[in-house]
Structure formats: structure tokens, C-alpha cells
Symmetry: C2
Subunit: 336 residues, 2 copies
């Protein structure tokens, strides 16, 4: 991903929310420190404490968080924040602090962001550029609707819309009057399927660093590309009920169903897929159904998570393994 960004001549600002560790962030940057994207101020502070100096906090900021964001910004080179409303712009101005700010654009996901075709969005962008408390950085979007894709063609189409939404809006604003306007995009599906990044200036994928069962289902990656699994132990086998229980439940795996009806993919300890289904999870139990006659209490299974971001966040430590050997213990930051 890093190579593709560099070859495309765009800024590579990977999201670190999937892993929340310094070790993986360094892997994303080829061993060094570079621009990153975070999902919480706690992540921003964690990385700032470790020398990372160029951070985008990619959730529209709550007014009450501006003071804390200013404190973080004051000790690094740049903290970019996001807004998508006149209310938030007003809150920045009332804070009497100057921020590096992106305008969040909705490119079709309809979660956060302003409609690039609404005249009011242009007014907001111009008001931001005019504000003495805003250093206007540019336009940022997240094509989260790529997660609804059924296949690579769907993802490619959305990748086109993602860049087009920003480029069209930037053209509307005009290059000259506003200074440089960075177009920042980033979703793992769209970033994974394009051969090179075009019509943008910065990319922010995050999940790609682990991938997961869901990403392999929609075509962002191959099943073998998934880099995380949860090692669990069989604690009960019930052949007459065609089921068994593992000691990994909702607090180890999350309750994310991805695009399906199961809570992850069941593999043996060597990550070979098994014809078994993880059909339900309660707090500390996972229930697996299928032909369990060859499995006994104490057997270890690996579960490939549907959504690695949510599953990884359940753990205080990740064991980095090279084959059977543990080569690292990485500790993610938590909370907000």
C-alpha cells in the first residue's frame, strides 16, 4: 500500500485505528515514522508521546474536544481535525485557537460529511478558508459504502466516485482563490483494488494492514492475506448436538457479523479452514456447529475475525508470530 501511494505520488497517511500500536504503524511506514490517521484523541496522544508528529484525527470533532485537540496540536508539527458544519466552525472560532482543518465530504456513504452538490457546502468551505482560526487543509472523504460491495467491480466503481466527489468540489471552489486544497481519500476496499491512486493527493486506508474475513469476502484481499486470528481452546464438545464451545466469545471476537451470519471463520491451529460454523457468541463462549466428532476438549482453533478493527481492540496485547514462534508482544492504546 505504501509503495502504491509513493508510486502514485500521493501522501501516504495510513489509519492506525485497526491496530492502535506503534509497532504496526512503523510497519505501515516501512520501519519509520510518517503521517498517520487516528480515530480518537487518545490514539493521537499515544503516537505523539512516541514521536509521531503529523496526525489527522478523522472523526468530526466535538466542540468539547477542541481544547484537548489544541493541546495535542501544540506538541507536534500538525494535527489536522475535521468538521462538516457551520456549528463546528463556530465552535473553533469561539475557542480562539487556530487549527489545521479538513472539510469532510460525503461521497455517497451518507454517514458524516457534507453533500458536495449542496451550495451550502461551498459556502462552508469558503467560510473555513476565510476564518482566522482555520488553516484550511482541504477535503477529506471516506468511501465507507464500498463495504456494501459484492465484488471488485462494485468497489472499483465506488473508488471512482470517491475521487470524483472531491475533484468536482475542488474545481467548484477554484484553485486560485483558496490556496492548495488537499484531496484526501481512504477506504481499504477502494485503496486495495485500484492499481494506482489518481485524482487525489492523500490516501488513508487502515484495515488493509490486517484485512479480515469480510474484506476477503468482498474482494479487497485473498483469504490468505488476513494477518490476524484469535487462538481459542475447545472447552466443550457435544457431538449429539453437532456443536462445540470455545473459550472465545463476544468479548474476544466482537459481535460483528460482517456480510454474513457467522461470527468469524473457523480454522485449525495451522490456519487451515474447517467445515465448521461459528454461529453464536455470548460474552465468553463461542458456539461452533457442524461435524465436531473428530474434535476434543483442549483442541485449539483459530478464528479469523469478520472485522479485524473491532476484534483487535478487544485485546490488551497482540502476539506477533513467525510460524509457531512469538516474535513480539504489541500493546495497543485504548479508550478515547
Amino acid at each position: 500500500m505504501r509503495e502504491k501511494a509513493h508510486q502514485s505520488g500521493v501522501i501516504f497517511r495510513p489509519h492506525v485505528k485497526t491496530h492502535k500500536t506503534e509497532e504496526v504503524a512503523r510497519l505501515q511506514h516501512g520501519g519509520g515514522i510518517g503521517p498517520i490517521t487516528v480515530s480518537t484523541l487518545a490514539e493521537g496522544e499515544f503516537f505523539a508521546d512516541r514521536g509521531w508528529r503529523d496526525i489527522t484525527y478523522a472523526v468530526p470533532i466535538a466542540p468539547e474536544k477542541l481544547q484537548r485537540a489544541a493541546a495535542l496540536a501544540s506538541r507536534i508539527d500538525r494535527l489536522n481535525i475535521l468538521i462538516d458544519s457551520h456549528d463546528a466552525l463556530r465552535a473553533i472560532e469561539e475557542s480562539r485557537q487556530t487549527f489545521d482543518v479538513f472539510l469532510k465530504i460525503d461521497c455517497g456513504y451518507h454517514r458524516a460529511g457534507v453533500d458536495p452538490d449542496d451550495p451550502d457546502s461551498e459556502q462552508l468551505a469558503r467560510a473555513m478558508a476565510r476564518s482566522e482560526f482555520v488553516r484550511f487543509q482541504g477535503l477529506l472523504t471516506h468511501a465507507g459504502h464500498s463495504y456494501n460491495s459484492k465484488n471488485i467491480d462494485d468497489i472499483r466503481r465506488i473508488a471512482g466516485e470517491e475521487s470524483a466527489a472531491l475533484s468536482r468540489f475542488r474545481a467548484l471552489l477554484g484553485f486560485d482563490s483558496m490556496g492548495e486544497i488537499i484531496r484526501s481519500i481512504g477506504s481499504t476496499p477502494t485503496a486495495s483494488v485500484v492499481d494506482r491512486f489518481s485524482d487525489c493527493d492523500e490516501v488513508r486506508p487502515g484495515n488493509y494492514v490486517f484485512y479480515d474475513a469480510f474484506q476477503s469476502t468482498i474482494g479487497s484481499c485473498a483469504p490468505d492475506d488476513v494477518a490476524v486470528s484469535v487462538l481459542a481452546t475447545v472447552v466443550g464438545v457435544y457431538p449429539e448436538r453437532h456443536s462445540l464451545i470455545i473459550d472465545a466469545g463476544a468479548l474476544a471476537l466482537s459481535k460483528d457479523l460482517g456480510a454474513g451470519t457467522d461470527y468469524g471463520r473457523v480454522c485449525d491451529e495451522q490456519l487451515r479452514p474447517l467445515p465448521l460454523r461459528l454461529t453464536s457468541v455470548s460474552q465468553e463462549h463461542g458456539k461452533i456447529e457442524g461435524d465436531v466428532s473428530h474434535i476434543s476438549v483442549g483442541t485449539r482453533l483459530r478464528i479469523i475475525p469478520n472485522h479485524s478493527c473491532l476484534t483487535a481492540a478487544m485485546f490488551d496485547v497482540y502476539y506477533a508470530v513467525d510460524g509457531d514462534r512469538v516474535v513480539g508482544e504489541w500493546r495497543p492504546v485504548r479508550g478515547w
Copy 2:
């Protein structure tokens, strides 16, 4: 719940997995220390460190955890563990350590536990009672299928099955040959709807201490009985899309849908229900739909979780409030 247990003359051993804090466990026991149920060895160790001396670890134990369980057992009065297979009994015997052990019975949930009507279950119980490495404590069941209830009558019927399964199996074993056999039951729905506990010797409800939106839906409690909420801030309002975004997503709320299609109940800061729906959550965003025209960026909302056990576990600290005043900061144990 404590009073009902005492009036019924049964042991009160509340589950602490819903909150995982010493403060709430003491509330469950009227301020003091008493028998508790835990869902992880980490919880057991946390409470043992704080002077709790009578603990049941209520997940069938993995053979690899026996050594750690023995270490925990050695520093308190009693650690009860659970098994439901000859394989697990063999693992105990191979450990050459003696444990206090319950046999887990399936009373209809079909997650863990042996079928009380299967002759092999009787054989397993007798083998446990005979084993020199087992102090046979009795029979334990969890009526988790009460969570599939639609109303109080459903729950009452399951409460009857729960006790009956244990009493029937105990009668099969015979009182005289096996010594005292404790019948331990416990699910919040069944424990909530009965007027008194009968046909059992011990009760282990846990969720009742907080309750949640789901429990109020099936009739375990009234909506006003729910004791936890997640305070969130509106970070984006999109009246034209009839939606808004809060800064609480899947990592603050969990992705538990309860019995419905929403991720929690939306209330104002004073816990008054609002006619809004929390229709989707991503990692750090919650999307709320409805008439949002009267809400602005910075407004605070409270979300009543569908499943308080999973939501509470997402936080490193709970703020205990009395009206608007924070009267305590309680820190749960995490991990396994």
C-alpha cells in the same frame, strides 16, 4: 435480588461479569464480601487480590487453564470450576491437583452442559464423585434460552424448566450415595420474574445489577430500571439526510443488536427517550436517524445499551452518578 435469595434460603452468588468491578460486587452483597461467579480467571484473580474468597468460574474449564486455576484456588477458600465431559475430568486427574467441581447441565439452552436425560451424564457425575481429584460440588445450569423469551410468561416457563432439570437429575443420582449436591441456577430473566427461588440451592444472576434495553424488552425489568448509559456527543447533523452522528460507535456500544435492529435506545442527557433510532455503528461513529432538526453539533445524548455486559466491558472506567454529580470512578478488570 439479594433479599429474594436470602428470603428463599438459597446461596446468593451473583455473577460479576456484567461490571467486573469490586464496587458493584459489594453493592450486590449489600456492602460486604460474599460468594461470586466470574466469567474469566482474570476476574477471579482480580477479586482474590481484593479479599474475595469464594468464587465460581462459570465457563467449562480448558485443560490448559487448570494450573492457573489451582494457583488461584490455593489462595482463597474455594474456587469452583465447571466441567461437562469425561475429557475434562481426565485432564483434572492428569493434573494431579484436587478441585471443587460442578457438573454443567444443559437445561435447554444447548450452549454448554450435558443432557440430563442422557445416561452418560449420570455416568459422568458418578465418575466425578468417585474421582480422588474432584470434590463434587453439584449441578450448575444457565437458562440462557430465557433470552429468547417474548414476555414474562415465557420466562416463567423457562424458570420452571431450569430448576426442574437440576432437581430431576439430582433425584436420579440419589441423595445418599453422593453427599450434598448443590443445584446452582442463574439467568437474569428467570431470576427476575420469580417471586421466590425454589427447587434450587444457589442463584447466580449477573446482568440484573445494571439491566439493559434488551432485558426491559423481554420483561425482566422496566425501562426505568436500567442503570447504565453511554454519554455521547453529537458531532454532525444532517437534516436533509434525516440523520446525525455521535462520537460513540461500535467500540463504545458493542455491536449487540439485542432482539431488535437498533444499537441502543437514544435518550436526551436527562435519560428521556427520544424518537430517534441508532441504526448503525462503525468503529467510532454512531449514526442516528429520525427528525434531527432540533439537534445541533455539541448536543449530548445518552444511549441505553442493548446488552450492558458487552457495552460496560468497552470502558476502562465507569462514572457512578447521583443525578448530575459524579460520586465514583469504578475501574473494571479486563482480559482473560
